[in-house]
Symmetry: C2
Subunit: 247 residues, 2 copies
């Protein structure tokens, strides 16, 4: 049985709380948020607090608060304890607690209102000490079969890669949507293709999955497409086409 105190009242804290509560081998001892109202929905199931001086004793402290507040919060946590955060982009040594440090980073895009299935969410863990890594591995495995040991250095690279496959992909959807609006075509016609594109990559390497006029070097189609785009769309179309063609 691993005991946990979770800090944060946002998207990640919300879903981690639910995952831990659903797991009988995790003893979720307490929830902290600076605004107790953000975690009040859990108060019948678990002890909550908005006072860092009243934190319970636990094996692991998980800080699921905004990136730029992790350092300052961590310096106020109990001494000689294993303290972790859930961020993809903050280094482990940004933690300012006096004791042991670790990372417990669930690699998925969370929002409070959207239910998640933790058994499909990769959890990236890291710790300074081997024993702590084992504790985090155990804890992570209790909520997900996909546990990866990733260093802070690797995690920062993973985060850039995630920006491409998530944020930038979404921007491709946005431009597709803009083009549809511009020409009065229903964007929904493209939704099955969007799903298929993501589904394909689950089994096929991105290189092999690549199709389209850029890949085929079909200059005639490329030119016809460019004529339909505005200046900004054109710039992006040309740069990505060039990048696809350079392999």
């Amino acid at each position: 049985m691993i005991s946990v105190v979770l800090l944060g009242g946002g998207n990640v804290a919300h879903h981690l709380t639910q995952a831990f509560l659903a797991c009988k081998d995790v003893d979720l001892k307490q929830l902290y948020a600076r605004n107790a109202s953000s975690i009040a929905n859990f108060q019948n199931e678990i002890s909550i607090t908005d006072d860092l001086n009243l934190l319970a004793d636990a094996d692991v402290y998980i800080i699921a608060i905004s990136d730029d507040a992790i350092s300052s919060i961590s310096s106020q946590l109990p001494e000689n304890k294993l303290v972790t955060h859930t961020s993809g982009s903050v280094a482990m040594n940004s933690l300012n607690n006096t004791g042991r440090k670790g990372i417990f980073y669930p690699l998925q895009s969370f929002s409070k209102t959207k239910p998640v299935n933790f058994s499909e969410i990769p959890i990236c863990i890291e710790a300074e000490q081997d024993e702590d890594l084992k504790i985090l591995e155990q804890l992570a495995q209790l909520i997900s079969p996909k546990v990866y040991q990733i260093s802070s250095d690797q995690r920062s690279k993973l985060h850039v890669a995630a920006v491409f496959v998530n944020n930038f992909t979404n921007h491709m959807y946005k431009i597709g949507n803009d083009i549809c609006k511009q020409y009065d075509v229903p964007f929904e016609v493209l939704l099955p293709l969007i799903q298929e594109t993501a589904a394909k990559i689950q089994h096929v390497a991105p290189n092999e999955a690549q199709t389209g006029p850029a890949k085929r070097k079909d200059q005639e189609t490329i030119q016809r497409h460019l004529n339909l785009l505005n200046t900004k769309q054109k710039e992006i179309y040309q740069l990505i086409t060039k990048s696809i063609q350079n392999g």
Copy 2:
């Protein structure tokens, strides 16, 4: 009962044949391919030919062959018949038959080896004459509930939008994969995020779904990311970041 002759032995012909064969209200009379071997797998279920002079009589002829061969094939089809093609990027008036013209464009990415569920595939139809549009609508509805009347002009725009959401999105996956390889992080860690990104857009407008450092104008993170990228990746990161920030 609508009778159909289907031309082509590739990805689209393969899946359309299966869909029509599975539908009792479609009379798939014949399959044509210039290399009979490419459609030989269907010869026990349906009449096949490699000779355009031996085409059967049917209500609708569907040309599912390579874009640049559509014009020439269409000029060799029976007179006074409704002839259609399945391409997203070829105009209806590229059809060179003497009779009626139409479009029967299934908007999805097909490959022979990957099973498809036609009930989730949008079919974009067009015809010169109202009666023909009705025939194509009936035929399309027999294999999919998602039937859209889209003009050649709109279809050419839809095709550009599809390049963004499919080809360019796949290239974002490719760059993510490159970064992972470069820094020895398993790309598979990103697969659930990729699926979630596509799943989110099924319900949320791309504008609202946008997250990340570009959207937050988090210059510090953006700079850190740029330092990890090679020249080409950097160029794409900067351009898309700018585009996200300009809304």
